[in-house]
């Protein structure tokens, strides 16, 4: 089941890249790199979430940073 999800994400990523590729001017190297970079990030995050659904999220990160101030607000 998990591998099926990974396959699904991969198909999605392939679709995004195949859809965008012809629309980008061949000379725009940076744009191509950005699209690839962002989709790869998406793929990695997606796969990580498939295997570790409990991965601590950005909310946790922000909560930890502002904890002292937050306690004062919460009382």
């Amino acid at each position: 089941m998990k591998w099926a999800a990974v396959l699904g994400i991969t198909v999605m990523v392939a679709f995004i890249i195949l859809y965008e590729w012809p629309k980008i001017n061949p000379k725009q190297k940076k744009e191509k790199a950005a699209v690839i970079g962002l989709t790869v990030m998406g793929w990695l995050l997606g796969v990580l979430l498939v295997f570790f659904p409990e991965l601590p999220g950005p909310t946790k990160l922000f909560d930890t940073i502002v904890e002292p101030l937050g306690k004062w607000l919460e009382k």
Binding site: M12, A34, L45, P58, K60, F62, L73
Partner: protein
């Protein structure tokens, strides 16, 4: 310039108004009641100070760098490398805020209506819809809000008017029984909503009538203030002491309306306002994120980034919090602090540095 579309100051106002009001009328009454009790209607007034201040700061920054968005002028103010680093933190925050807004929408919709639909589908479909809007450009986004916002306002007025016969003014007395402090504590959460006005920093460079921008933005803060004030007041006067027992008091208030066995179940009207508003909100968040990322990377076009960000936003929406209570807690406590840091503290520092640099340059110019 990367965005060729131009919008008017009024369109910008409508975009921001829809962004804030559509979700705020749902969440603000409950949270302000928790802190302020009977004085909850005062809280949006204190909170609006954040809104006026954000508009003022962003306008001053825009006056120094008229044709640029924050991601661009941050590099002029701080220098290239530090500017890129701070810019990255902004982009990360935009991504987080967009994902979290999606998640809120998904959690609520799944909880209230689509009990058997996986949240991934709900989130991904709204994100995809807003993706198409963003791909079409800023002008299309603005016209969407031109279309939705008057309707939203009309529906909201209808709900408030229908509630009037049920209201009991006694519920708001005594005013400020425990002094002014509870109402100020209650203002923390609405203040976070008002800081969303910061997004005008991305829209300002694309205005046709930039001179009107400041005036319209201030006017919009006032409009948001009036909307939230009336919403809070209507909820309080209807429910009195039991306001706190509802998660979304204004929606429960709409459910309360019943006339001639015909006007019933009006909470679906609130849902309509909310889904329309969330669509515009995701459109703007998505646009701000995609455009600023393209500017951060010095790309010549932002459109190729829209679909990759669709995937990232959806995933962050799933990832952001394990469950609804944790998310709600974080939004009411951490949310206001983080958004004030990003949207007020850092911009104020940037403005100070920019003004000082200009002074120094002028002094160096004429010794």
């Amino acid at each position: 310039m990367i965005e060729k579309g131009r919008i008017s100051a009024l369109q910008m106002s409508l975009l921001i108004y829809a962004n804030i009001v559509s979700s705020a009328i749902l969440t603000v009454p409950g949270i302000t009641y928790k802190y302020a009790g009977r004085d909850m209607w005062l809280s949006p007034i204190w909170g609006s100070l954040s809104g006026f201040f954000v508009v003022f700061i962003v306008y001053q920054l825009n006056k120094l760098y008229p044709m640029e968005t924050l991601i661009q002028y941050i590099q002029h103010i701080l220098g290239q490398i530090p500017g890129k680093i701070v810019g990255f933190f902004y982009l990360f925050f935009y991504l987080y805020a967009g994902g979290t807004a999606l998640r809120q929408y998904g959690d609520f919709l799944v909880g209230a209506f689509f009990n058997r639909t996986p949240i991934l589908i709900v989130i991904a479909s709204l994100a995809l819809a807003s993706t198409f809007a963003v791909r079409a450009g800023l002008e299309v986004l603005a016209r969407l809000s031109d279309m939705f916002v008057p309707l939203m306002i009309l529906l909201w007025i209808m709900i408030v008017l229908l509630l009037i016969p049920e209201l009991d003014v006694k519920n708001m007395f005594p005013i400020m029984e425990n002094g002014i402090k509870p109402s100020i504590m209650g203002a923390v959460s609405p203040a976070a909503w008002y800081t969303i006005f910061f997004h005008i920093s991305t829209l300002f460079p694309f205005l046709i009538d930039r001179k009107q921008g400041m005036k319209w933005s201030m006017f919009t803060v006032l409009a948001v203030l009036v909307t939230l004030l009336i919403t809070n007041l209507a909820t309080l006067l209807l429910f009195g002491g039991i306001t706190g027992s509802f998660v979304f008091p204004f929606m429960s208030a709409a459910r309360y309306i019943s006339y001639a066995d015909f006007f019933e179940n009006l909470e679906s009207v609130i849902m309509a306002i909310w889904i329309g508003g969330t669509f515009i909100k995701m459109g703007l968040y998505n646009y701000v994120l995609v455009l600023n990322t393209a500017q951060w990377l010095n790309l010549s076009d932002y459109k190729p980034l829209v679909l990759p960000f669709w995937m990232l936003l959806t995933l962050v929406g799933i990832w952001t919090a394990p469950n609804l209570p944790e998310l709600a807690h974080s939004l009411s406590v951490t949310g206001p602090i983080i958004s004030h840091t990003y949207f007020i503290v850092i911009p104020v520092i940037l403005l100070l540095i920019a003004v000082l640099r200009n002074r120094m340059r002028q002094k160096a110019g004429k010794p």
